[in-house]
Amino acid sequence: MIPTAFEYFAPKSLDEALRLVERHGDEAKLLAGGHSLLPLMKLRLSVPRYVIDIGRIKSLRSIREDAGALVIGALTTHHDMETSELVGSRCPLLAETAAEIGDVQVRNRGTVGGSLAHGDPAADYPAAMVALDAEIVVAASSGTRRIRAEDFFVDLLTTQLRPGEIVTEVRVPASPEMSGSAYCKLHQPASGFALVGAAAQIALDSNGKLASVAIGMTGVAVRAYRARAAEAVLAGNKPSGKLLAEAAEKVADGIEPLADLHASAAYRRAVASVYARRALETAISRANERKA
């Protein structure tokens, strides 16, 4: 209902923000759109002493191209992502994923940086980010570093981010010709989070074989992951119904699925296969459409 009291800072620049996070470390929480943090604070499940509102750092809200990569500022809202022409043309998977997040109001305020830094195991973006081989750029007073999305997510609500670091942008490599992508999501009916989210990013070669295939899964386990075993079944092969089904069977290989009120581990595992297969089917048919 009502958060506990905290001290508030609204830095205007990244440098100022970095100085503040360095000074307050673990006792501070960064506030961007607020749609991960404020609900927790209102329930008093999060009780930071300092809140550093980075929402006014204009340099963090941008979408641009840089050396072939799509570079998305941390303060880019889900709505920006959903409606950006640049994202739509260069990386439709991200636009499609953004459109599946929460509801209109959430997409208007929630930011990509905030969502990634929160590390919610059921958030939507991580599936796409790991499938896209995106890099998450984090800054600290000592300098910046880039973390591969696949490494960034560590555990429940836990990422590679260290105290004193701020996510500043996400770099997404350009996707090859004749690629296709899709995000298929089974919504948790109450909260809208992903019970299972499967992101597929594939590319076909001129013979119709899968030149590359990446499958990112969210909601299934404590962190988003690449379904490598499933990818291995497909890579270099011509997709067929049988092959896709065989690959989909492997999307949760070696994974311990989460279990909660809304889905048991067995159900998550089964639906992960179904949704991965559907995402692959859609991605392939989209790639074929582009080809034609």
Binding site: L43, R44, L45, S46, D155, L156, L157, L261
Partner: protein, 148 residues
Amino acid sequence: MKIEGQYILPGPPEAVWERLNDPAILVKSLPGVETLEPDGPDRYRAKIQYKMGAVSGTFAGEVELSDKNPPHAMKLKTSARGGPGFVTAVGQLDLVAKGKETEVHYSGDLQLGGLLAAVGSRMMEGAAKKSIDEFFQAIATSLGNSSQ
């Protein structure tokens, strides 16, 4: 919520047993526990500062060791209560010698109350497993340190 698992710890059961019964080790190993004050035999009052990502909170807690059968088995009960509700974890620990190491089998029951039960259940099983991992990792580390 039932939780089960096993760990291999570097050292004989006697050494593991000693660590598990040492409040100085416990306070360092139990995730989030800041202080342990004795409150009767094998009972401690704890101050717990819990943090997992953005989730954080201060809880008052208790740690209790019981049904001891040194160095084979014991019950470890930890409980914490605070604004968002309470958590009680009762775990049975069984220690079995495996060569120079000890296999610890634990099986326990995790009970959540209040708001934690309502909104925390999505994460709680994972969080509990993570905490248990951290606990045994810390015990393992303490064993490693002493053997050096």
